[in-house]
């Protein structure tokens, strides 16, 4: 089963992991990834604001999850992604995947993350004491997508 949630409210990664795990049917391997608001290397982050494209966000995440379910032998997949204003240390998003075999659970979670980073319509802005700035896309994130394009 695939679950997609886009929400402003904070969520509890541990509760998500347990709820996901209770819903599993016969999967022996479960992988989760949680993204957390962290400070900039130079410090001083006050908050993070995430803008998204309501409507397109849900359909993009649904499509990415459907592709993961098709590529790997998964039993379940979950994507939770927040928008709005987030404080340092808060969870930003998470993905979880479950499969009979660990290789499928790992690969699909990484695939979801790589696609979500660069293909789901979210934009992050950092607020520091001296001002605010949009987070720039990283070339590494774009390159991370390439490894999935050769495989089918």
């Amino acid at each position: 089963m695939v679950q997609i949630r886009v929400q402003e409210e904070i969520f509890d990664p541990g509760e998500e992991v347990n709820a996901f795990s209770r819903s599993l049917q016969g999967a022996g391997a479960m992988v989760s990834f949680t993204g957390i608001v962290r400070d900039r290397p130079e410090g001083g982050l006050d908050a993070l604001e995430i803008e998204h494209y309501p409507g397109m966000t849900e359909s993009a995440l649904t499509e990415i999850a459907a592709e993961a379910m098709e590529r790997w032998a998964l039993t379940d997949a979950l994507i939770v992604h927040r928008f709005g204003r987030l404080q340092l240390g808060e969870p930003i998003m998470m993905v979880a995947t479950a499969a009979p075999h660990r290789g499928d659970a790992f690969a699909s979670a990484e695939f979801l993350m790589d696609y979500l980073k660069s293909r789901a319509p979210f934009w992050k802005k950092e607020f520091v004491a001296t001002g605010e700035a949009w987070v720039e896309a990283r070339a590494e994130d774009e390159e991370a997508l390439e490894r999935w394009q050769g495989e089918s």
């Binding site: 359909s59 979210f122 934009w123 896309a137």
Partner: protein
Amino acid sequence: MDVLYFAWVRERIGLPRERVVTDAATVADLVEELRAREDRYAIAFSDLSALRVAVDQDLADFGTSLDGVREVAFFPPMTGG
């Protein structure tokens, strides 16, 4: 059609969305029309390589036809996750 702007595109243009009546055949044609309107549009659309576009909520490119399209969105490269 509805034209939507996100992130710094929205900030530069000063609007999150607007209704545009146009005969533009492609996204690129629409961009030309918008650029000709005012400086803030010209500035927002000055470097297309820094922009991404979605047509009816699907990622598209600047050559995409606007035939029958209801919604076009412009935004910088996405930074989710």
